[in-house]
Symmetry: C2
Subunit: 130 residues, 2 copies
DNA sequence: CCTTGACCTTCCAGCGACTGGAACCCCTAT
DNA sequence: ATAGGGGTTCCAGTCGCTGGAAGGTCAAGG
């Protein structure tokens, strides 16, 4: 299977797939003409990677998850620990963004937004209260 | 004022301040010995930048905000528009992260997390439901 | 047989916003 | 004279791709 078809099936850009080969996440075979020759297992891996990435796992986490997935003797505790850590990171990020959002909302609400120069947004950035 | 003191007062790493000079956000003078010589206005700008960055504005947005801040004839509408766009981006990000969080939470809950290999997290990534 | 066009290949550069490190200069105190 | 704590420049690396150039391969149509 050539990269184009794989890209479609895994719903990933061909460029991304080549990159994943570069960093050793997949190892497709090669045809005589130099084209990458993907097996079904490669496609499965790429789908797996696409979903893990969509859940925000880092590439290194994905590498670990892939290894666990392929290890029949894994302990589900290892997977769960990884996922929980990642979950905690996401929650932290959400909290940070919520703080920004709340501040921004207040500022936007306070600003007339007309053609006069007075602007609570700029004043707040300058004063640094918020 | 040397960069160390400015770094402390603006609560930014010296490296970051040098970078901001590199990309033209601040233009400190220079002493005879080559050291950067910051004026009060430079410090104010850096504080402003620090706060804008803390609210998640991109560097390019910060450049615009700084220009608006320095323009006595600005229209507050321009500032407000920028802030509103940014706010919308943040809300989109929060929503994306919430989706991830909810999925991850479900998966973590479903996983026993013991020393057995059965793992709904991996199965879900492989199957690619949700 | 030749061309066209869609595919594939490699390699290099760039994104954003820093951050680390090397190699060096400057200033003050002892 | 030296030690230490500033400062300087420049280059490379981070993360996860993405764009583009320059070229090889293949099937279909004239």
């Amino acid at each position: 299977m050539n990269i184009g078809e794989v890209a479609e099936r895994a719903n990933l850009p061909a460029k991304t797939i080549r990159y994943y080969e570069d960093i050793g996440l997949v190892r497709p075979l090669r045809d005589a003409n130099g084209y990458r020759a993907f097996r079904e297992t490669d496609v499965h891996k790429l789908v797996f990677l696409g979903r893990a990435r969509a859940l925000g796992f880092s590439i290194e986490d994905c590498r670990t998850l892939l290894a666990l997935w392929e290890d029949r003797d894994r302990a589900s505790g290892d997977v769960r620990r990884l996922a929980k850590n990642h979950l905690a990171q996401i929650e932290r990020k959400i909290d940070d963004l919520k703080d920004m959002r709340d501040t921004l909302k207040d500022l936007v609400r306070a600003c007339a937004g007309d053609d006069r120069p007075d602007c609570p947004i700029l004043s707040s950035l300058a004063r640094g209260d918020q």
